[in-house]
């Protein structure tokens, strides 16, 4: 087996085994996986050349659905929460999507931001329903009807999330490589030609938008049941920005990068806060600057270059520039 393939598999095995060696890491890793799913949603839209600064909306919709289900049905059922939460995000995604796919670039990004902030205000102000800024407790749900103890539930959540992420990453990878996935990419390069092929660019983008909303929804439910509480902060624009940040950190356009970025980000965030409580955000800021200036293809791109060097291949400028964020072209 080649080194290029072996390292990710070893890393995956490490992530899977880490909680058995270091139990403290389990919740952090589960949250990273939940965010990774949402970041994957951002990555899908980046393939169309569009950046949404409001995708925390879909993250929050499903998270609150999980909270309401838990409240209404004395704890609720994890599978129902995941299904209904994701469905709700898809429904909201369709509603918002029909409107925002008519716009591109800064308008697309800002309209998403606006809609998410409307939802944020609703969550804050309707406190008799949503608990306002205190948020809502998410009761620990049963799993397939079986009530769970805390430790067992957290372990199950982690491994369930890991398997789910692998399956979803595979599915999204196949979607992006398929004809309709490639049509999504042509929205970035030549929308006019796409229309002259008889394909609606708006509908193509809407499909991508629904995929991304569903992914954020899936991540939101997982986050809600992992943390046991949902707050309006789930829908806040900073959370949306965080998703974009992680997407660029991991490698904009890369499916694996979404999860690598989320894992690195969450671990750095959790432990940098302990060692450098006041400046950790500044550290992350400089890190992002470094990535944009010197490694525009993110952590996954850096890994690719490292492997090229180890295998003695010379990097080709065309290959490196393909998924970069550089303003040229």
């Amino acid at each position: 087996m080649s080194l290029r393939l072996a390292v990710p598999l070893i890393l995956l095995a490490l992530v899977a085994l880490l909680p058995t060696i270091a139990p403290w890491s389990q919740v952090v890793l589960t949250i990273a996986l939940a965010k990774g799913l949402a970041v994957l949603g951002i990555v899908v839209l980046l393939h169309a050349g569009q950046v949404s600064f409001g995708h925390a909306l879909f993250f929050a919709v499903s998270a609150y659905i999980a909270a309401f289900l838990g409240k209404a049905f004395a704890g609720g059922e994890l599978i129902t929460m995941i299904l209904l939460g994701t469905l709700a995000s898809l429904a909201v995604g369709l509603l918002v999507g029909l409107f925002v796919v008519r716009y591109r670039h800064i308008f697309f990004g800002m309209l998403n931001l606006a809609v998410s902030m409307i939802f944020f205000s609703i969550l804050e102000k309707f406190y008799h329903v949503t608990g306002g800024s205190d948020g809502m407790q998410v009761a620990r749900p049963s799993v397939l009807g079986v009530p769970m103890e805390r430790a067992g539930f957290e372990t199950l959540l982690f491994y369930g999330a890991l398997v789910l992420c692998i399956a979803v990453a595979w599915g999204v990878h196949r979607y992006l490589e398929s004809p309709i996935g490639h049509m999504l990419k042509t929205i970035k390069t030549n929308e006019t030609r796409l229309e002259y092929l008889g394909v609606s660019a708006r509908r193509t983008l809407l499909v991508g938008y629904l995929v991304s909303a569903g992914l954020c929804g899936l991540g939101g439910v997982l986050m809600a049941v992992t943390q046991g509480i949902v707050t309006p902060e789930y829908a806040w624009w900073i959370r949306s920005g965080e998703l974009v940040f992680i997407a660029i950190l991991g490698g904009s356009g890369s499916v694996a990068g979404a999860f690598v970025g989320a894992l690195v980000y969450e671990v750095v965030r959790t432990y940098a806060a302990a060692f450098a409580a006041d400046i950790w955000q500044m550290v992350l800021g400089f890190f992002l600057l470094g990535i944009i200036l010197y490694a525009s293809s993110g952590l996954v791109g850096l890994y690719g270059k490292l492997m090229d060097r180890l295998e003695g291949k010379h990097k080709t400028p065309a290959g490196g520039a393909k998924q970069s964020m550089e303003p040229a072209q």
């Binding site: 398929s178 004809p179 049509m183 796409l194």
Partner: protein, 250 residues
């Protein structure tokens, strides 16, 4: 000349500010007869193509394709009916290879969204490879289109249009941007591809040598209207054309 009328315009009219781009344009395009459109810059040649493909909406007049009215329909709807377009500036998917460009077009034609099939594995692959061979670009199938020279980009742009299996192909200056020594080569390749695909073509052209050799009919545009129409031999001998379009003293 009893060939079926593919496309017919009646009384097309459009102005941009003070410029008359179409003034009562009545044109019939017959199946199997390749029509060259010539005329000075600003005569409304590209506007005519834009109206026929739905990109520009006329102020008045109608366009019928195969007996159906397509006036004011969107480019997407008109494309689905069988009118394809090639552009003066090649309109390609810059981050995709030549073959991928065609595979996307073929998937669009067959409405093959196939969310879990790799683009490279779609059943249209052999057909698209054949099309690339027809336009003499098979050797660059895997190359990214933004690395290719202009002549090949033009051919791939036209191949994308042909991949849709249209009944009518509208081409805006297929040989502009191509070195003059290669123009006839490009047109030979194109004529072969068009004949095999059994597509009727309309092309805007400035090179009279090309018009003479490859067109079945010629229409002369000036001031937003068709001034003359006939066979290349008739038109290119006409004193008005020699004076106004070719630019020689009679």
């Amino acid at each position: 000349m009893s060939a079926q009328v593919l496309l017919e315009t009646r009384g097309l009219d459009i102005r941009f500010g003070g410029v008359v781009a179409a003034d009562q344009v009545d044109v019939e395009i017959h199946e199997g007869r390749n029509l060259a459109i010539i005329g000075p810059n600003g005569a409304g040649k590209t506007t005519f193509l834009n109206i026929c493909t739905g990109y520009t909406k006329p102020n008045a007049g109608s366009v019928h394709f195969c007996g159906r009215e397509i006036t004011r329909r969107s480019p997407r709807q008109i494309t689905r009916l069988g009118v394809a377009r090639a552009f003066q500036m090649p309109q390609l998917f810059a981050e995709h290879s030549a073959l991928e460009n065609l595979l996307i077009a073929a998937s669009a034609r067959d409405r093959r969204w196939a969310p879990f099939t790799r683009l490279g594995d779609v059943p249209e692959r052999d057909e698209m490879m054949h099309l690339l061979e027809l336009v003499d670009c098979a050797h660059v199938a895997e190359r990214a289109v933004n690395e290719l020279p202009e002549g090949q980009r033009k051919l791939i742009d036209i191949a994308i249009a042909l991949a849709l299996k249209p009944k009518l192909l509208l081409m805006d200056e297929p040989t502009s941007g191509v070195a003059s020594s290669e123009k006839f080569g490009v047109m030979d390749i194109l004529t072969r591809a068009l004949a095999e695909a059994k597509v009727t073509s309309v092309f805007v052209e400035h090179d009279m040598g090309i018009v003479e050799k490859y067109a079945d009919e010629v229409a002369v545009w000036a001031s937003g209207a068709v001034q003359l129409r006939g066979t290349p031999a008739e038109i290119l001998e006409h004193p008005d054309v020699i004076r106004d379009v070719i630019g020689e003293e009679v």
